[in-house]
C-alpha cells in the first residue's frame, strides 16, 4: 500500500482473526492490523467518545468486517460507517461465513465494497485471504474526510 493504511479487523472469533492475520501477512502485507472481538469496542474506536469519528481525520483506514458478532450485527456497523460523514469513504470488506444471497445483496446496498465468504476448506480460505492481501497491497485507500 502506498500510504500506511490501518486495517481494522472486526472479528469475534479469535481463531478466525488469527488465521486471517496470518494469511494476510503471508501475502506480504505488513500494515498495522487492529483487531476487535466485538462490535461495541470497534464502534467506540471508530467513532470516538463523541461519536463523530473525527478522531481519524487524515488517517487511511480499511475495515475488515464479520457479520455475525455477539453484541451488534455487522450490518449495523456497516450502515453506521457508511452513514458517517468522515468514514463513509473508508473501504469495508465484509468477510463472513454467510453466503446467503439476500445478505450479500443487502451489504452491497448498504455500501460495502467487497463481500467475501469464508470457505470452510482451509486451502480455499487461505487462498482467499492471501488474494485479499494482494488486493490490499494494490488498492488506493482515501484518507478520512475532515
Amino acid at each position: 500500500m502506498s500510504k500506511p493504511v490501518t486495517i481494522i479487523m472486526i472479528e469475534d472469533d479469535e481463531g478466525h482473526a488469527r488465521l486471517i492475520e496470518r494469511n494476510i501477512r503471508r501475502s506480504g502485507v505488513n500494515n498495522e492490523i487492529i483487531p476487535f472481538t466485538n462490535g461495541t469496542a470497534a464502534l467506540d474506536y471508530l467513532f470516538g467518545p463523541d461519536g463523530s469519528g473525527i478522531e481519524h481525520k487524515g488517517q487511511a483506514l480499511l475495515i475488515l468486517l464479520d457479520l455475525n458478532l455477539p453484541d451488534t450485527s455487522g450490518i449495523d456497523i456497516l450502515r453506521r460507517v457508511k452513514e458517517n460523514d468522515h468514514l463513509k469513504c473508508t473501504p469495508v470488506v465484509v468477510l463472513t461465513t454467510t453466503d446467503d444471497a439476500h445478505e450479500i445483496k443487502r451489504c452491497y446496498e448498504l455500501g460495502c465494497n467487497v463481500y467475501i465468504t469464508k470457505p470452510v476448506n482451509y486451502e480455499s480460505f487461505a487462498n482467499a485471504i492471501r488474494q485479499l492481501g494482494l488486493f490490499f497491497s494494490v488498492i488506493q485507500v482515501p484518507e478520512t474526510i475532515a
Partner: protein
C-alpha cells in the same frame, strides 16, 4: 319430553270430556224421556178416569131419556176403558206401587162396568124403578170414590216422580254442561301451557343455535390461531436450523484452518528431525537435496510421521464431511425459506430438459428414460424441477449392475390432483427401509454410491410444501416406483390451508 306428556294429557282429557259429555247427554235424554213418561202416565190416568165418568154419565142419560144415543155413547166409553187401563198397567210396570193401584183400579172399574151393565139391562127391560134403586143404594158411588182416590194417589205419585225426574234431568244437563265447559277450559289451559313450553323450548333452541354458531366461530379462530402458531413454530425451526448450521460453520473454519496449520508445522518438524538425523549420521546426504521433498526418515521417526499424517487425515476428512452436512442443512432451510411462485408448467417439456442434462450418466449406465404423456400443472417450476431431477438422478444412480436400466415417468390426473410416477428396474429398496430413505442423512442398501442422504428428504419437504404427498413402493431386486401426488393447481392460498 314434558311437552309430549302434556300433549298426551290434553288428548286424554279431550277423550274423557267427550265420553263424559256423551254419557251425560245420554243421561239427560233418558231423564227427559222419563219426565215425558211421567206426563204420559198422568195423562193416561186422567183419560181413564174421564172415560169412566163418560160411561157413568151416558148410563144416567140413558136411564133418564131412554134414548138409543146415550146407549151408544156408553158402549163407546165402556169399550175404551179396559184398553186404557191395560196401557196404564203396561206403562207403570216399573213402579210396583202404581202397579198395585192400577190392578185395583182395573178390578174396581170392572165391577163398576158390571154395575152399569146391570142398570142398563134393567133400564132396557123398563124396570126403571129397580135401576134407579140400584143407583140410589150408593154401591156405585163408593166404587167410584175409591177409583177417584186411587187415581188421585197415582197422580200424586206421578207428580212426585215428575218433580224428582225433572230435578234429575236438570242435574244431568247441568253436569253435562259443567263437564263440557270445565273440560274445554282444561284443554285450553293445557294448550296454553303447551304453547308456553313450545315457545320456551324454541327460545332454548335459538340460544343453543347461537351458542353453536359462536363456538363454530371460536373453533375457526382457534384453528387459525393454531395454524399461525404452527407456522410460527415452523419458521422458528427454519431460523433455528439456519442459525445453528451457520454458527457451527464458524468453529469448523478454525478447526480446519488450524489443522492445516498443524500440517504445515508437521512438515517443518519432521524436516528438522530429518536434518538433525542427517547431521548426526556418519555419511551426510548431499547438500543439494530438495528441501520441500518429503524428508527421509528412518525407524521410529518414520512411524511417528505416518501416525501424524493419519490422524490429520481423519480430522480433515471428518471436517469435510461435517461441512457437507452443514451445507446440506443450510440448503434445505434456505429452500424452506424460498417463496414459491405458481406458474403453468408443461411437465413433459420440463422432464425432457432434466433427461437431457443426465443423458451422459444415462448412456454410461446403459439406461433408457421413457416419458409417457404427463398432465400439465400449476406449481413452482424450480421445486418441480428439483423433485424430478432428484428422483431421476436416484433412479440412474441405483440401477442393478449388469442390467440395462429402464426408467419410466408416468402421469395422470385425478380429482384436482396430478399423480406422477417415476419407476425404475433398479436394485430396489427393502420395505423396512421405505420410511428411512426419506429421513435426512439416512440411506439404505449397499453404500457404493456417493451421497449424503439428502435428496429424498429434500424432495419430500418440497412435495409437502406444494401441498402434495409422496410414497414409494419397492422390493429388493425388482425396482422402485416413487409416486408423487400434487395439487393440479397450486397457489399460495392452498399452501396456507395445508400448512
Amino acid at each position: 319430553m314434558l311437552q309430549i306428556a302434556l300433549l298426551g294429557i290434553a288428548f286424554a282429557v279431550l277423550v274423557v270430556i267427550s265420553i263424559a259429555s256423551v254419557y251425560w247427554l245420554q243421561r239427560a235424554r233418558e231423564d227427559a224421556a222419563w219426565v215425558a213418561h211421567t206426563l204420559e202416565v198422568e195423562n193416561q190416568i186422567s183419560l181413564s178416569l174421564l172415560q169412566i165418568r163418560r160411561a157413568e154419565s151416558a148410563e144416567r142419560g140413558y136411564l133418564l131419556t131412554q134414548e138409543q144415543g146415550f146407549l151408544d155413547d156408553y158402549e163407546a166409553a165402556a169399550g175404551g176403558i179396559p184398553p186404557l187401563l191395560r196401557t196404564l198397567q203396561e206403562q207403570t210396570r216399573d213402579n210396583p206401587e202404581q202397579q198395585r193401584a192400577v190392578i185395583e183400579i182395573m178390578a174396581l172399574a170392572e165391577a163398576r162396568l158390571a154395575q152399569f151393565r146391570r142398570v142398563l139391562e134393567l133400564g132396557r127391560d123398563n124396570k126403571l124403578d129397580a135401576a134407579t134403586e140400584m143407583i140410589r143404594v150408593n154401591a156405585g158411588r163408593d166404587t167410584m170414590n175409591r177409583i177417584r182416590t186411587l187415581s188421585l194417589e197415582m197422580s200424586a205419585e206421578e207428580q212426585r216422580l215428575f218433580r224428582a225426574r225433572t230435578t234429575t234431568a236438570d242435574r244431568s244437563q247441568a253436569l253435562a254442561a259443567i263437564v263440557t265447559t270445565s273440560g274445554s277450559g282444561l284443554v285450553l289451559l293445557l294448550a296454553a301451557i303447551s304453547i308456553f313450553l313450545v315457545r320456551r323450548s324454541a327460545a332454548a333452541r335459538d340460544e343453543a343455535e347461537t351458542r353453536l354458531r359462536d363456538s363454530n366461530l371460536n373453533l375457526e379462530s382457534t384453528v387459525l390461531e393454531r395454524t399461525a402458531d404452527l407456522r410460527e413454530a415452523n419458521d422458528e425451526i427454519q431460523r433455528f436450523a439456519y442459525i445453528v448450521s451457520h454458527d457451527l460453520r464458524s468453529p469448523l473454519v478454525n478447526i480446519m484452518g488450524f489443522t492445516s496449520e498443524l500440517e504445515e508445522l508437521r512438515g517443518d518438524i519432521f524436516r528438522r528431525i530429518a536434518t538433525l538425523e542427517r547431521a548426526a549420521s556418519p555419511n551426510p546426504m548431499p547438500e543439494n537435496a530438495d528441501n520441500d521433498a518429503e524428508p527421509k526418515l528412518s525407524g521410529a521417526d518414520k512411524q511417528l510421521s505416518q501416525d501424524f499424517t493419519e490422524a490429520l487425515g481423519f480430522i480433515k476428512s471428518s471436517i469435510a464431511k461435517m461441512d457437507r452436512l452443514i451445507s446440506a442443512i443450510l440448503n434445505l432451510t434456505r429452500e424452506g425459506r424460498r417463496e414459491f411462485k405458481p406458474v403453468l408448467i408443461d411437465t413433459r417439456e420440463l422432464i425432457e430438459g432434466i433427461v437431457s442434462t443426465v443423458a451422459h450418466q444415462a448412456a454410461e449406465a446403459e439406461a433408457e428414460i421413457h416419458i409417457e404423456p404427463l398432465p400439465q400443472i400449476v406449481s413452482d417450476r424450480l421445486a418441480i424441477e428439483q423433485i424430478f431431477s432428484n428422483l431421476i438422478d436416484n433412479a440412474l444412480k441405483y440401477l442393478k449392475n449388469g442390467v440395462p436400466g429402464e426408467i419410466r415417468v408416468r402421469g395422470r390426473q385425478k380429482l384436482g390432483f396430478a399423480i406422477f410416477e417415476v419407476a425404475d428396474n433398479g436394485r430396489g429398496i427393502d420395505p423396512k427401509d421405505h420410511q428411512r430413505i426419506f429421513d435426512l442423512f439416512r440411506r439404505a442398501g449397499t453404500q457404493d454410491r456417493p451421497g449424503q442422504g439428502i435428496g429424498l428428504a429434500h424432495v419430500r419437504a418440497l412435495v409437502r410444501r406444494l401441498g402434495g404427498t409422496m410414497t414409494v413402493s419397492s422390493e429388493l431386486g425388482t425396482g422402485s416406483t416413487f409416486t408423487i401426488t400434487l395439487p393440479a393447481k397450486w397457489s399460495a392460498a392452498n399452501r396456507d390451508s395445508q400448512a
